[in-house]
Structures are given as structure tokens and as C-alpha cells.
Subunit: 205 residues, 2 copies
């Protein structure tokens, strides 16, 4: 690209560092900022700086938080018997949005991925092991994706925790998404959902 301004060029280069944003989109965003009042850009810049400077990870569950302990860990009304292990902060938000889970969480911060150079030491796995040892947790739910990396991570963590005989380990159910046509489901999902079929329950009974 042929920029008439180095200020614009620098802005486009910085914006296009963000994932999924190419140079053309970055240019569109920069020109959008230019059409808006200066305050909008300054607010954006200040908010990002403040966010990056001050955000911390919950010392208990590794969720992002404004305080040393996150809002969920601070809530005494949740079910302390159940711990849900997730890969990412977004998974906590997704599960919280269902309103159906009342236990606590543990955020790994990713999955083991040799290709991307992410090993167990890069994730909050030791924090999890320590946390489980010092608690009376009765069930650990692994709410992971169904990728190869996630299954490896699940296998690894389970091995590290399996000596806790009193803990029930579970994974979230895989199967056909509600509202989806059967014919559009991939073979693996459909195959698993047949193998893991469940007894029919009449919802009126």
C-alpha cells in the first residue's frame, strides 16, 4: 500500500497486528476514527491502556478479574462441591450465560499444544492440582472442546488428578446440537451420539 501519510501508515500497521484484521480492514478502521470526534479515539486508546495495565488473573481460578479474587470465587452461594475446568475465559462466560451451572470454575488459559509450543507448565494446571488437593471437591467437570489438543489436555490433567478416589470426573455431553437437522451433523458427532444414546424420558412424566 502507498500511504500519503506516515501517521496513517503507522496506525494501519498497528491495527493490522490484531488477529483477523488485514491491512484493508485496518485502513477502513483508521479512516473511520478520522471521521469521528478526536475524543472517540482518545477514549479507545485510554480504555485499552487501562485494561491492559490493570487487569489481573484471579489467584484462585485464573479467570480474569479486577480484584485478586474474581466475582465468582468470592460468591459463597455457589456449589463448592463442583469444579468446572475450562480452557478459556470465554468458556466461563458461555457457561454462565446458560444459568444452569452453579459450581466454581478453573480456567486453564489454553490447551497443551506441542505445535504451538504450549506445554503443561504454560497453563494453570499446577494451580488446579494444588487447588484440588486443598479442597473437598466431589466432582470435576471438564468442559473442553472436542479437538485433539483438548483431549490430550484432558488426558494429562485426569492422570495428574486420578489418585483422588473420591472425586467423580465428568465431561460435558457431546451430541447433536438442539435445533440442528440430523442430516447436517458431521459423521463423528452423529456416531458418538448414537454410541452414547440415553434412555428416553418423557418430559411430562
Amino acid at each position: 500500500m502507498n500511504f500519503s501519510s506516515t501517521l496513517l501508515e503507522n496506525a494501519v500497521n498497528e491495527i493490522s497486528q490484531l488477529p483477523g484484521i488485514g491491512k484493508r480492514t485496518a485502513l477502513r478502521l483508521a479512516l473511520h476514527l478520522l471521521k469521528q470526534p478526536k475524543e472517540n479515539t482518545f477514549n479507545l486508546a485510554k480504555t485499552l491502556e487501562k485494561f491492559r495495565e490493570n487487569i489481573i488473573f484471579c489467584e484462585n481460578c485464573n479467570n480474569i478479574s479486577d480484584t485478586p479474587k474474581c466475582e465468582i470465587c468470592k460468591n459463597p452461594n455457589r456449589d463448592e462441591n463442583v469444579l468446572c475446568v475450562v480452557e478459556d475465559i470465554r468458556d466461563v462466560m458461555a457457561i454462565e450465560n446458560t444459568g444452569l451451572y452453579k459450581g466454581y470454575y478453573h480456567v486453564l488459559g489454553g490447551v497443551i499444544s506441542p505445535i504451538e509450543g504450549i506445554g503443561p507448565q504454560d497453563l494453570a494446571i499446577n494451580l488446579l492440582i494444588e487447588r484440588v488437593s486443598n479442597s473437598n471437591i466431589k466432582e470435576i467437570v471438564f468442559a473442553f472442546s472436542t479437538t485433539m489438543e483438548s483431549e490430550t489436555t484432558l488426558f494429562y490433567i485426569h492422570k495428574k488428578l486420578s489418585h483422588h478416589d473420591t472425586i467423580l470426573f465428568s465431561t460435558i455431553a457431546t451430541g447433536i446440537p438442539i435445533g440442528n437437522d440430523l442430516e447436517f451433523a458431521d459423521e463423528m458427532t452423529l456416531g458418538r451420539s448414537i454410541m452414547k444414546r440415553v434412555p428416553y424420558q418423557n418430559s411430562t412424566s
Copy 2:
């Protein structure tokens, strides 16, 4: 969305103000910044602030520029007989990338659009009229899109300038894009390209 952190929530709200970026994408971008060194976010924020604070519009052609006169207007080796009127800064960049145009530019900064409340006074039209009056321009090329708003703008500007008898007014050619299959061209483009057919020139002759 259920945020565990107001800092994150603020960041997501600010990022999702940008056009084409929804809350989910904003969250992905914010979490990406969190995984990168703090300096990356600070550089992004500072570059945007500097860009918005210091960028100016060329006093001659309304292109964005680091200096009162842009690099193109400052270049004495370009063809001063031809002036290309474009809607947007991006159009200048696109035409410059072809390397086939050697005249100067005039950037309107948009098109007349009553629906969006953009009138002639919001565009650099008076600057153009003044500029043309004080020059010896021989040809004005309108390099506009083929939307209704662009054609209205073209009509308006041409009317304002048509008393300059010595100036040739032209528009860029419309037709079938090079490399495109004829069958995929829309009817209007194909229709126009038949009506505006040009004599065949053997490129070896």
C-alpha cells in the same frame, strides 16, 4: 454478555464501537491483547492517539497528510494539466497503486447523500471550484463509484464547473473487469459495456 471484569467490559464496549466489529470479535481482540506483552497494547494506543491528534488534510487537495501540503501536491513532476476527483482517500491509494496516472488529485471526502445528511457543504466541493478557477487545468477526470449517490455528486459538481469551456470532463471507463467471466457480470455492467463498446485494436499492430 456476562463479564467477570469491568475493565474487560469497557475494553470490549470501546472496541465494538468500530465499524464491522461486534461484541464477540471485540472480546476476541481484547483477550488477544491480554496474551501479548503490555507494550503491544501501549504501542497500539499511543499510535492511534498520535494519528488522530496530528493528522491533517492537505490544504490543496484534501488528501490526508502529515504536512499542510501532501506529498502528491508537493511533487512538481506530475502532470498539472489533469486533475482526478475522487470520493475517498482510499481511491487515491488505489489509483496510485496502478502507477498509470500522473496528474494531481482532489479528494471530496464522501458523496452527496441526503439519506445520511451529507450535503455539498460537507464535502471539499467549494475547495475544488476555487482550485479549478485558479488553475490551468485542461482535464478533470471523475473517478467515482457507480452508485446513485456518486452519480448525483458527479452531476452536481459538473454543473458547478461546466462554465469552464476549455476543460475536458471525463469519467473512468465502466465495463467488464479484466479476468472476469462474462456470465457473472451483472446486467447493468454488461449492458453498459455493450452500449459503450470500443473499436477493436490489435495489440500487435
